[in-house]
């Protein structure tokens, strides 16, 4: 869109961070545009992660990440309850497997205290095996972190974007920004949809945040994509564990974990590989093999269950050990880069922090006349009442009683809703992320064609 009338704020990137900032700005009397090169929100780092809401117990004490993760945990937990995003407080158990790791558990507890999280505690090996009877043999010590939670990662971006759009934020999908230049009193963004002018620009470009940063004359950090491969196991494996099973973290990575998902699967991963290509989300035989070896030790019975999916995501790692957030008053530019694997947890706190700083830097934050309305998302979690088991819903509309994706129990009504929602699915990935259709163990053997046909007739002009 070429528009003489400039926006107040343009946000580059509609991942979980960009959409959260869009949602935060929607509370004020501002013309905001959210620009995303992909055809959907939350398709980069935001879609392929371990789906854990962290307490921040193991972040770097005193870092911005530590503060924002702790605040974000609180905000996201409350938001999930309000919007119906599936979230389960399963808790985590951090397990040591040798004397050296056991010796470091006290450090873990001290770090947790320093991060303001006071509920982590040592448990005995007896208690560990009572909690996690399927755990592999040889554990030498354990710490519980009762507030670590699991969440539906895809719903967060969709919910934030839906709320923002409902409150007047303009969402432009399939629009790639290639350059920024200074206009007389605003920024001119060159995009695949023409020039876009904005007084303020927010860089929430995730894996590309260092490249975008350079357009604004900054070079505080560089992104090295860190690939994380993950294996999703069949739901029949879910009874094998009750909480998230964490390893003792090292300097470089949190290590390979085993976690339940809110959909009732079990996740094993991630790997941590620094790679040059910012698009390379391919899995590798070495990666899969390494995860299975780790999984066999942590939860031996797990590897006998069927694998439902294998995927990889890229984290926006930098040479620094903290988020790269800076608000430049004179330039009216906010950089929200280097948001690592904790970004989903921290997203709402990051948005709160950045927008407040932008206000301090001169952005007028006048309350909008109407407060944004928190959207109500369809229930995707196994703990909630899903459409197929909701008698009242089916009585009102039999489409919710017509199951199209058998493995995941997704109904015709839910697929229809996903295709017709305010931020609709426009491809199979979008349908999957909004409904779980075709994400199950058969991977489309039964329903792939039927779901694709519904999609084709919905998006056909």
């Amino acid at each position: 869109m070429t528009d003489e009338h400039a926006y107040d704020v343009a946000i580059i990137g509609a991942g979980v961070v960009g959409t959260a900032i869009g949602r935060q700005l929607a509370r004020y009397r501002l013309r905001t545009v959210l620009l995303e090169r992909s055809n959907d929100v939350g398709t980069g780092t935001s879609k392929a992660n371990t789906a854990i809401v962290h307490t921040g117990f193991d972040t770097q004490p005193g870092s911005l990440e530590s503060t924002l993760v702790r605040r974000g945990h609180e905000l996201l937990t409350a938001y999930a309850a309000a919007s119906g995003i599936a979230l389960e407080r399963t808790g985590a158990v951090l397990v040591a497997w040798d004397a050296e790791q056991t010796a470091r558990l006290d450090e873990v507890l001290a770090k947790s205290q320093a991060n303001g999280y006071h509920h982590a505690r040592r448990i005995t090996l007896e208690e560990l095996s009572r909690r996690e009877p399927h755990l592999g043999g040889g554990a030498t010590g354990a710490v519980t972190i009762p507030d670590e939670s699991i969440i539906c990662p895809w719903s967060a971006s969709v919910a934030f974007a839906t709320e923002a759009v409902g409150a007047g934020v303009e969402l432009q999908l399939g629009v790639e920004v290639s350059h920024a230049r200074r206009g007389p009193d605003d920024w001119v963004l060159r995009t695949t949809n023409g020039d876009i002018r904005a007084r303020w620009v927010v860089n929430a470009a995730g894996l590309g945040s260092d490249l975008v940063n350079a357009w604004f004359g900054h070079d505080e950090f560089g992104i090295t994509p860190r690939r994380g491969q993950l294996i999703v196991f069949d739901k029949l494996a879910r009874p094998l564990l009750s909480s998230i099973l964490l390893p003792v973290p090292t300097e470089r990575t949190k290590g390979v974990l085993v976690a339940p998902t809110v959909y009732g699967n079990v996740l094993l991963g991630p790997t941590a590989e620094d790679i040059p290509d910012r698009d390379d989300t391919a899995t590798t035989a070495e990666g899969i093999g390494g995860l299975l070896r780790a999984g066999r030790r942590i939860l031996p019975e797990l590897v006998h269950e069927e694998v439902t999916a294998v995927y990889a995501g890229l984290r926006a790692a930098t040479e620094h050990r903290d988020y790269q957030i800076s608000v430049h008053e004179r330039e009216r530019y906010a950089c929200v880069g280097g948001i690592r694997s904790t970004g989903l947890t921290a997203s709402l706190a990051i948005a709160e922090h950045v927008v407040a700083q932008m206000g301090d830097a001169g952005l007028t934050l006048a309350e909008a006349e109407q407060e944004p309305v928190v959207p109500r998302l369809p229930e995707l979690g196994e703990r909630g009442t899903r459409a197929f088991e909701d008698a009242g819903l089916i009585e009102g509309d039999p489409a919710y009683g017509s199951i199209v994706c058998f493995c995941e129990r997704v109904t015709v009504g839910e697929v229809r809703d996903a295709l017709g929602s305010p931020v609709p699915a426009v491809d199979l990935g979008g349908v999957r992320r909004r409904t779980r259709a075709t994400n199950g163990r058969c991977q489309g053997f039964f329903c792939g064609a039927a779901v694709a046909a519904r999609l084709a007739s919905a998006v056909r002009p």
């Binding site: 009683g401 163990r441 058969c442 991977q443 053997f445």
Partner: protein, 415 residues
């Protein structure tokens, strides 16, 4: 929960050939109310989606297309007084024999005195085979492909690789051909094709589709759409094959969720519920049949074998509660054998059907020894064994099994 409760004598889960045959046999055996539920729009199971001919030879004694064959079984079941309910899915159990269902009419609970599980099998998808690479469009199983082409008429690519060289893989080649897609090759880890010689010959010579043997798929790549598949040949060398479509065929696993959730003992070979020749499982009153227990046979074999499960369910209803002796002896196989069905033995009487045995690798002139506690029950010499195909051995030894330790079937060492 506001579920409508329906009380029946027998609930059959799955209206494919096996489920319909079991339901028909249950009615014939005197069962009063027999309800078959299926989550699909139409009853008839997988054959509905198979446009090609060759169905019905072993059970209906005629040669029919898949949809015609499916129709025959539906008609036959309805004529016997079986109540078929489609678009109705069992989503779980409230208690043994009490199934929770969802359909467009709302939530249902079926309270059945006997349950026959006939939920079938599916092909292992790409992820379950741990094939690395990216996740573009253009990756199918045969089942998905058939519905894509024959039911939804969705657009297809131009060049395909078919992973697998068992019967169903050749069916995938035909479906691709109908959709105007050229199959570059079939790829199999095994040293030879596993289908009938005639199919193999017609495909290689007639359709000019080669079979790349001792070849593994090492990766699937592409951004939006598949653009290449990495294959590793017998020498270990890898090369990229330019295709836009990959079909992962065969490698069947039972759709065993309801069996697992019901807590039934699972056979490690088939991964379906362990069951006796009459379909009796480890749980009283729950029977299993069809490709859920022998993944996967042709429809006619599944239907033929399902009769005994239906008859056993009817016998159970007639007062088989007296049959307290559960089938407890398990029958196991030793490598390289893959599975055996039946894989449990109880006091079920003379079985109607032969025992099915499968191997993981090609075997020439193997001798199979059936032993229990070191004592030989039977010994059979076969001409050859081919992976992904069942081999029949007589069932006489089932009568010799003592209610003690497990039975083992193993390939005797060559002398």
């Amino acid at each position: 929960m506001s579920r409508t409760v329906l009380t029946v004598d027998a609930l059959v889960v799955g209206a494919g050939p096996a489920g319909l045959a079991a339901a028909t046999a249950a009615r014939a055996g005197g069962a009063g109310s027999v309800v078959v539920v299926d989550r699909e729009d139409e009853a008839g199971g997988i054959p509905r989606l198979c446009a090609h001919t060759g169905f019905g030879m072993r059970d209906l004694r005629r040669v029919l297309s898949g949809p015609e064959y499916a129709r025959r079984w539906v008609d036959r079941a309805v004529a016997c007084g079986v109540d078929i309910r489609t678009r109705t899915m069992v989503t779980g159990w409230s208690a043994p024999g009490r199934a929770q269902l969802t359909g467009p009419g709302g939530l249902l609970e079926v309270d059945a005195r006997a349950v026959v599980l006939a939920t079938g099998a599916r092909e292992r998808p790409r992820a379950a085979r741990l094939v690395p690479g990216s996740r573009p469009a253009g990756i199918f199983t045969t089942g998905q492909l058939q519905q894509w082409v024959h039911r939804e008429h969705l657009p297809m690519g131009r060049r395909a690789l078919v992973v697998g060289a068992e019967h169903v893989s050749y069916s995938a080649v035909l479906t691709l051909r109908e959709a105007g897609v050229r199959t570059v090759a079939l790829v199999t880890d095994h040293p030879r094709s596993q289908t009938f010689g005639l199919f193999d010959l017609l495909t290689r010579a007639g359709l000019r589709v080669p079979v790349w043997t001792q070849t593994t798929v090492a990766g699937v790549y592409g951004h939006d759409r598949v653009d290449r598949v990495l294959v590793r040949g017998p020498g270990g060398g890898e090369r990229a094959v330019a295709v836009d479509t990959v079909v992962f065929s065969g490698d069947f696993i039972p759709d065993h969720e309801l069996a697992r959730v019901a807590g039934l003992a699972i056979d490690p070979g088939t991964r379906g519920p362990a069951c006796a020749a009459d379909g009796a499982t480890s749980a009283p009153g729950i029977f299993a049949t069809g490709n859920l227990v022998h993944p996967a046979e042709t429809a006619d074999i599944a239907a033929r074998r399902a009769r005994s499960a239906g008859a056993a369910a009817a016998a159970w209803l007639r007062g088989g509660e007296g049959r307290h002796e559960r089938a407890t002896v398990r029958v196991r196989v030793a490598d390289p054998l893959h599975w055996v069905v039946p894989n449990m033995v109880g006091p079920e009487g003379e079985p109607l059907d032969p025992v099915l045995v499968r191997t993981r690798s090609f075997l020439d002139h193997p001798r199979l020894d059936v032993t229990q506690g070191g004592g030989l029950l039977a010994s059979y010499r076969l001409r050859r064994m081919i992976p992904n195909r069942s081999h029949h051995i007589p069932s006489g030894w089932l009568g010799l099994v003592r209610p003690e330790e497990d039975v083992l079937i193993a390939v005797a060492a060559p002398r």
